[in-house]
Amino acid sequence: MNRFAWLLDRLAYEPRRNAKLALIADYLRTTPDPDRGLALAAMTGGLVFRNAKAGLIRALIAERADPVLFALSYDYVGDLSETVALMWPARHGANDVPHLPDVVAGLRNAGKIDLPRLVAGWLDALDETGRWALLKLITGALRIGVSARLAKTAAASLGGAAPDEVEQVWHGLEPPYTALFAWLEGRAPRPAASDPAPFRPVMLSHPVEAGDFDKLDPAEFSAEWKWDGIRVQAVSGTRPDGSRLTRLYSRTGEDIAGAFPDLVEALTRDGALDGELLVMRDGAVQSFNTLQQRLNRKTVTAKMLAEFPAHIRVYDLLVDGDEDIRELPLVERRNRLEAFLGRLGSERFDLSRVIPFESWDDLAAARADPAAAGAGTDAEAVEGCMIKRSDSPYLPGRPKGYWWKWKREARLVDCVLMYAQRGHGKRSSFYSDYTFGVWRESPEGQELVPVGKAYFGFTDEELVEIDRYVRKNTLNRFGPVREVTHDAKSGLVFEVAFEGLQRSTRHKSGLAMRFPRINRIRWDKPPGEADRIEALERLLPAEA
């Protein structure tokens, strides 16, 4: 356990990707089975413990620490595992440091009754770093700046294999991955890829920047709408026994099929599709707010299925039947995709249509007014355009020179900072989450009404300045939240950018912003000159 903890600790402080790769590869090379495979599983999210959850950690610390002091500490540190690791009271004489395989076996097998005592015993025996690593293992969120992809890349380097080769066999393997290491170290043949519906790393795009189009010939490109949904990969395959396996992956490879039985049962042909998850009613794309009702659920009710019918607008085909076509140029994949969707014949899957354009100016016009350029009544759900080189192969990651995203111009509004809350993760201990409002008429005169919350868009230097401003202009404290001075004469104005606006009954203002962020800090602007609610209401889509 100490060596594993040492690895996580080093990785957490190492900013350089290549150094991270070297650290992981070195650990995997010099650590025996099954320890190294379990460590790899931890870094790729492959260890899930049914009974060991964050709630267990909270219960253990509640028995050992004052609840107010714990809450203040957690609020400050911004990470449950780290807070508990630092606060855990020392118990002298406990020094029987557990081994990683024993810890994993214990977390897997122990019942709900035995688990607290077992985990407490380990925490007593470990030092701060060891406690932190153990708790990270339990909560499953390592937050050490290592993606599953990076860990697999490090593993692949043991045998000089390409990361994609590891990816291909990955879903057929189980921790502690002894067969994988045996193959990579040349002691055994390549494991069979027995998963009929594996995830394939997605291809990502670059944002368009000034001057990008100057050297590009529009004839070599095609464009599609960029929909405001969730990027998904739908994969279906046939098991050796003839039965069908269908999975729905998020763009990071997380299987979310459980929440979308309507889509899973509709995909009845072998293949791998890349597209946008949307909710559609009567052929019309619904807002992202509506889609959110279906997200982050483990199961789904019949009522939800009827009320929020899921749909995939497909833009790429990675596997056609059992043929991997990722090397083919985009135009050919599109032809195959059209044919595939024709054979599938499901109304839950449709083709992402192309936007016709001759010049970049044409495309700019389409982007500015999607409704007139073919998106019709769905225009509200358009986030911008995707621009793809017609001959581009489907490559994992964010390769340069193939795909671009060109978002619509954001809407801007001047708001007044009202409340600030401490952030988590990277921003922990700084006041980095801001609730802001605009003016409206009330019986008592002009008042600010909150219209949104944002926690990014500013630089680290600006964060330090805003944090300092919050601390010096605090009116009230409510736990982790500070109320900041906000009247017509004194207060801080943010220029807030956002993508869209919806009516919402959840907010006092009756409005909900999509994707709000701090565009500029208006240190110069008196709060009395910030925008009014009417300015926002004019931006609402017409009532359907």
Binding site: E14, P15, L69, L72, T83, K426, R427, S429, K472
Partner: protein
């Protein structure tokens, strides 16, 4: 706590000291302690820029603190200055003031304020761990103890500083070709780290950023055992592989730091206890070395001075006040604004220091 002193009935605490926007104010003597804006008469606990500011009419402080203020702000930093000799009472109006070592940085002092049998100790910033570069904290029994709470949360427990320095030297041994760049506050922390490195037996020259030259020379002239100190500016940075370079925290992410051979970025601060704090600044080698009392030492000190009431000036006041309540001590936060900037908003203040020192 049952050991609390019997408090004088002759004077209300608010007649002796009250918090004001300018800082703590003593109406009976018409003086401020560590004022954050210019006042007629100021008593200063120590030389850090959030406590010692320029522009007061008259300043009473220890000899070292007066010297540090003159180095940072120029000889004209105040209209008049008066030296406070540690342990010796200075009477102003009907109030006795006594400076007592606080163990924070060279010259740092607590100020004991006493009138008509009521005694309040303003501890300023303080620590309890041994520091080879300054006099150690002396607990003074009192009726009201005014404390900081920079590290007033149970997650803050500083390991012994010599073990953190051992971590640094171990890394220097492991990576003999890389420059180790250690961020440390220009006043106090930097010189303490140098002294601890010497105590650990490291004898090669230590290199410093130009911004900390004046204060380091002052420490040397006061007898600190820092060994051979060289300025980076007079050396070719490319030749400093394997050496230790000490610089202000704001410099560790500067272009300045990248000119060294494959630098290892270290930062000596109590904040390094929190991983996100280290990562926010791109620190690879966090060294938990602090000039403030940690959670355990705050509690131990509060118990030791036997005060019946605790006032908390700045930092994590909520947690410390809550803890006082759980052990039956009366306590309140003062919410003084303008202190602790060396901690909470390090880069900005340190940049200021780099200019003034």
């Amino acid at each position: 706590m049952t050991l609390a002193r019997q408090r004088s009935q002759n004077l209300r605490p608010s007649e002796l000291l009250i918090p004001t926007p300018a800082g703590l104010y003593c109406p009976l003597a018409d003086i401020h302690i560590d004022p954050v804006r210019p006042v007629a008469r100021a008593l200063i606990t120590h030389g850090h820029s959030d406590h010692a500011r320029a522009g007061h009419g008259a300043v009473l402080a220890t000899r070292e603190t007066l010297a540090i203020m003159a180095l940072r702000y120029g000889e004209g930093f105040a209209g008049e200055r008066q030296e406070a000799v540690p342990g010796v009472v200075t009477r102003i109006g009907a109030v006795d003031f006594r400076f007592v070592p606080a163990g924070h940085v060279l010259g740092s002092a607590q100020i004991v304020v006493e009138a008509k049998g009521l005694r309040i100790v303003v501890s300023g910033d303080y620590k309890r761990e041994r520091d080879p570069t300054c006099a150690g904290f002396e607990p003074v029994p009192c009726d009201i103890f005014i404390t900081e709470a920079t590290f007033g949360l149970p997650v803050f427990r500083h390991p012994p500083a010599h073990l953190e320095v051992a971590k640094l030297l171990e890394s220097v041994r492991l990576f003999p070709e890389r420059t180790h760049i250690v961020g440390a506050y220009s006043l106090g922390k930097a010189q303490r780290v140098m002294a601890l490195i010497r105590e650990a037996g490291f004898e090669r020259p230590l290199y410093i950023h130009g911004a900390m030259e004046t204060l380091t020379e002052f420490y040397l002239s006061e007898g600190a055992a820092l060994g051979e100190i060289r300025k980076v500016a007079t050396t070719d940075r490319k030749l400093l592989g394997g050496e230790i370079v000490i610089c202000p925290p704001s410099a560790i992410q500067d272009l300045w730091a990248r000119k060294f051979p494959d630098p290892v970025t270290a930062f000596a601060s109590g904040w390094m206890r929190i991983r996100a704090r280290a990562r926010q600044r791109g620190v690879e080698l966090p060294l938990i070395i602090s000039d403030h009392a940690d959670w355990d030492d705050l509690q131990a000190t509060i118990r030791e001075v036997e005060a019946g009431e605790i006032w908390v000036t700045h930092g994590e006041a909520d947690a410390l006040v809550h803890w006082c309540g759980t052990v039956g001590l009366k306590a309140k936060p003062l919410h003084l604004v303008g202190y602790g900037d060396e901690g909470e908003a390090e880069p900005v203040v340190e940049a200021d220091n780099a200019v003034t020192s």
